[in-house]
Symmetry: C2
Subunit: 207 residues, 2 copies
């Protein structure tokens, strides 16, 4: 299929308006949309077509409380590395939307998937994790196109999340996603607006 | 910005028609398109807005030869783990397009970026690699929308690629991308058509 200018324009709109969302409304995500998000992940590239992502939708309130406690402990420890000004800035950031987001997805990578027959990952076994990341990014873009926000929270003790959710020993945590309708829509990322980090140039050199 | 049905339709077209391409025409990628691909990466999510991806466009023929030799050695070793039937299937796969693809990008992750101030990666330092993967996936989708093919080659000794290209000690190889106009456009992935691995269901469970 030859893709056209209208595809390019639409794709750039999605990319330009994708944000990492931390402020959610509490109204639920319809089941239909959850199916759409799952189908989106299945269109992601994966090494050897291994599809190693494993998704746990965390719905049990007691489990969510353990996840939140894990985040709060890791977040407090993370703030300790900064000097006074930066620590104040750190503490002013809202780094999760765990209490408000209606949909919580813990996304794991299975390091022993049957699918794929090991193709493409003998010298770079991290390709399995990378496949899961591509699936998460695909979900993120499709969510944005549905006007739904996604926040990728990484301030956790990841092994503890695995224990809380009782997952297989061959799985590791890749991401914990907060998903819901955003409170506001803004083209400028919150880390820019709050003065944490604007966009630095990234290298593209020739050799 | 409220995204619409036309955005969703276009995005799904891009996702449905993105392939991992290994068969390239040799005509060059215009400079304008390279700029577009670079701009696409800059729209990817990154932890703390650290933007840790570092891109080396490999143009020097002698360096390309070293990369190809690296691939060939790793590929031969990789084939050794299979029994006879699977080994035959492995050897029949075309796993790179290194000789034909006009554009080679070695994509690295900088593990000591100044940007981001360490935000979001104290307990999960692999978030830097994951940011680079999101940037690669963004490039891939934008390339597809330009009717350009991308092949992610992972059958390398990654440290050896770093040495060949003489990159900083703080960089690790995340991906080696072959990029060019595809010889053919097919909605069915080559691994399906060649019987290596069809799509297995991926888990989405509740806890």
């Amino acid at each position: 299929m030859e893709l056209t200018e209208s595809h390019r324009t639409a794709l750039w709109d999605v990319l330009n308006w994708r944000r990492d969302v931390r402020h959610f409304r509490t109204d639920p995500i319809p089941e239909r949309i959850k199916k759409t998000l799952q189908a989106a992940m299945d269109l992601a590239p994966s090494v050897g077509n291994a599809r190693p992502w494993r998704v746990v939708e965390v719905v049990t309130p007691a489990l969510r409380e353990q996840i939140i406690a894990n985040f709060e402990g890791a977040n407090e420890a993370a703030g300790e590395i900064y000097d006074d000004d930066r620590k104040q800035a750190y503490n002013a950031l809202k780094l999760a939307g765990l209490r408000e987001a209606p949909l919580h997805l813990a996304v794991f990578t299975d390091h022993a998937p049957k699918a794929g027959h090991g193709l493409g990952r003998q010298t770079m076994p991290e390709m399995l994790n990378y496949s899961t990341v591509a699936a998460i990014h695909t979900l993120w873009l499709v969510a944005r196109a549905e006007n739904i926000g996604v926040g990728w929270v990484s301030i956790f003790d990841p092994q503890s999340v695995c224990r809380t959710l009782g997952v297989s020993e061959t799985w590791s945590l890749t991401a914990y996603l907060c998903i819901g309708y955003p409170v506001e829509v803004n083209q400028t990322p919150e880390l820019h607006r709050r003065g944490w980090q604007t966009s630095a140039d990234s290298a593209w050199i020739k050799a």
